[in-house]
Symmetry: C2
Subunit: 256 residues, 2 copies
Amino acid sequence: MIQSVDRAMRILGVLRSSRRLSLSELAGRLELAPSTVHGIVKTLQAHGYVLQDRASAHYRLGPGALKLGNVYLDTLELRSRAVSWAAELTRGTGYATRTGVPLPGEVLIVHHEPRPDGSRQMPEVGITIPAHACALGKAILAFSPEATDCAGELRSMTRDTVTTPERLRAQLDEVREQAVATEREEAVIGECGLAAPVFDGYDTVVGALGVVVPAPDWPAGDAYETVAGAVRGAARAISRELGATRWPVPPDPGQG
Amino acid sequence: MIQSVDRAMRILGVLRSSRRLSLSELAGRLELAPSTVHGIVKTLQAHGYVLQDRASAHYRLGPGALKLGNVYLDTLELRSRAVSWAAELTRGTGYATRTGVPLPGEVLIVHHEPRPDGSRQMPEVGITIPAHACALGKAILAFSPEATDCAGELRSMTRDTVTTPERLRAQLDEVREQAVATEREEAVIGECGLAAPVFDGYDTVVGALGVVVPAPDWPAGDAYETVAGAVRGAARAISRELGATRWPVPPDPGQG
DNA sequence: GCATCACATTCGACATTATCGAATCTGCGG
DNA sequence: CCGCAGATTCGATAATGTCGAATGTGATGC
């Protein structure tokens, strides 16, 4: 691991969470000398990844960062496969569909198919959601070999967020049985989710896809099974296109 | 400039344009030893900016890149101001509206207000267009002090792309007079544009905003003036919100 | 309008640290 | 089973990034 590159990436990470920082604030966060940070930041700036407010001299992320994101999306096979299935899922259920990939402790949304009714919806591609607080995340965690993923801090986001490892583990067991994960107002009040995992040609979880359901519309009984079936079907179909041999794929036996 | 960080950014740049590359291909492009590149790439990978195909061992951009992009958009005052004006412009003209910021030789789209008719349109936020081949780019170049911007390669994209510095310079003179730039099928066949520059509190060009017009719908006569007036009005309004004292602001006198 | 302050920026000596070439490992094709 | 092409690891070298101190710059208060 190259020290200065590592530091550069940590700087980008800090700027991501803190938006605008002075040089000395940045140096403080990283516990480095300001002059050290200065050299790195100026290099990042020269490449357009960081820019400096003229008035405050504070640093923030620059346009270079945005350019990269799109290329990642373009090269992501999961995404290109998911697009058409997401459209069909939304057409069938009437709910918005999201596709996400795992990041340590989080899920990154890589596709968003908006609800068909013309309601104004924020573009959600690129946002991240704590894995333990969304259906996509639970679907991914349940089929990930590393159980360590649910070891981190389980940050509370609403009254109903699962915050204890025990409850989460119990839920994940159920997800494995059902092959769908659910979430009810655990990340955002008024918003629920239902998602299923997607596997690739190595039979490894590479992401998840699911619907976003307004809390009052949560389907009961047969309606629930219909929606769950549709989500399962889409996830299975995408997995097959990616070369997965079966669906769902139980996680590698961590225990004997 | 820190050498290894600079190299890391160049690696990201190469991956951006080439999508997937083996380690030795990467090393070749940068004219560096493979082992040198390896160290850097692994550092980038540890931070999620790069990932490696399991099958081919090729490297490509990773999810970390996408996360950054959104934060840049959120902190961009030009964008937040432009959103409502773009909506109004699209409502008034019926055309899609784009907002862009300058990158060396290119324009980066930071907002896209789709046409109101329900036609399926690609999300275009994050894409870049050669500055000399789009209305946004010409609007920006015409009011940039560095005339060097039009010195680079003027890559031909369609039959009508402006490829000679002389013709471009002549067009930019006209843009300065009119305070709107036009582009007719110079980047994409069937697509025209009309854009005006946006200035900030330092009376410096920070971007441009304009409409995308399907070639057959290009307005003539009075209709043209109506659209041009609307685009000028929106650009002027945003500039005022950003603290610009006048509009348009002629570029700094490069000549005596 | 001047002095003061805080902060960004530049500079130079030092030793840490990245670099490169060679050696090793891995997976694929014959 | 062997050979090859590529990725990866290792170790010596000196180039390079790092840090502290000095300098520049813009903002604030008197």
